[in-house]
Amino acid sequence: MRYVKHYGTWGYILHRLSGLALTGYILIHIYLVSGLHNRPAWQSEMEIFRHPLLVVLEWCLFSVVVYHALNGLRIFIIDYFNGARYQKQLLSAVLVLSVILFAAMGAVMFI
């Protein structure tokens, strides 16, 4: 049988997955941005990104960034500011903040 997943385990799994996803994204992102040299090609490319599905995906990407960034801060606090003593509270804060920012970004993007 598998080992139960505690709070901290989820924090770690999500951080790792989000970090890897972001790394993949940043590689592609830099590659795509190099397309700025060619204005027409860029504009048509951006048209593709207006597809609703991709817009939603971009929104999701934001949640990944937010979670990783906030949890990265949590790890920093754990390492340098005795955060290990409050890791659970910190993780709760990270999750709550992530959801709020995610919703706020949705508001900016869709309203």
């Binding site: 598998r2 080992y3 385990t9 770690y12 754990i78 390492d79």
Partner: protein
């Protein structure tokens, strides 16, 4: 009195045809019994071939760590009333270590890692005729780290350790803290370099499984963080 179904992991390497399997026993129990009581009842009344380690029966010797309902804990402290469903208990050996028999795992590697961190006071200055002084504050700094009973619950719950069995693991790191941060110790220079390798302190990704598993409520991760900081400040 309640009826408890105890599902126990069984494996006997002498019996080649036998693959690891689960065997279910039904045991009468008081709702405040510990899982160790159940195992004893199984062994003494139903099946004497069941093997597990235990000695003190009150959480101080560190013999009886095992995986109960999916999480590491001491069988002698695992009170039935703390389980959501006290009538269904699953008992397995500690994960990721070689199994000698049933719930008994091979701890040789675990203790090799313990020895590698030089777990002893190093102080070459000749001692005074009486005690070396240590302020209560300095003593407090290592207090938590001295509670460890070497039960191995932490190291065998650490996902980083499952992936890389060479990782020193939280127990050995905690022990390293215990002596490196002792105000009477002078051995940090010869001790700390074993931590500063790929299989040392850097394989800890603050997952906190170890802290959840520790029966002595030691915040191991906090101690590992202090070691990491010490290593970094040593170099930069």
């Amino acid at each position: 009195m309640i009826q408890v179904k105890v599902k126990v992991y069984r494996f006997n390497p002498e019996n080649d045809q036998q693959k690891p399997r689960f065997e279910t026993y039904t045991v009468e129990a008081d709702p405040k019994d510990k899982v160790l009581d159940l195992l004893h009842r199984i062994k003494w009344e139903q099946d004497g071939t069941l093997a597990f380690r235990r000695s003190c029966a009150h959480g101080i010797c560190g013999s009886c760590a095992m995986k109960i309902n999916g999480a590491n804990m001491l069988a002698c402290e695992a009170n039935l009333k703390n389980f959501k469903d006290p009538t269904n208990i699953i008992v397995e050996p500690l994960q990721s270590l070689p199994i000698i028999k049933d719930l008994v795992v091979d701890l040789k590697d675990f203790f090799k890692k313990y020895e590698i961190v030089k777990p002893y006071l190093i102080n070459k200055t000749p001692p005074p005729t009486k005690e070396r002084f240590q302020s209560p504050e300095d003593r407090q700094l290592i207090d938590e780290a001295t509670w460890c009973i070497q039960c191995a619950s932490c190291s065998t719950s650490c996902p980083s350790n499952w992936k890389n069995p060479n990782f020193l693991g939280p127990a050995a790191l905690l022990k390293s803290y215990r002596y490196n941060f002792d105000s009477r110790d002078e051995g940090t220079a010869e001790r700390i370099h074993v931590l500063d390798t790929n299989d040392g302190v850097w394989r800890c990704h603050t997952i906190f499984n170890c802290v959840e598993a520790c029966p002595k409520d030691i915040n191991i991760t906090w101690h590992i963080s202090q070691l990491k900081k010490k290593l970094v400040s040593r170099e930069y």
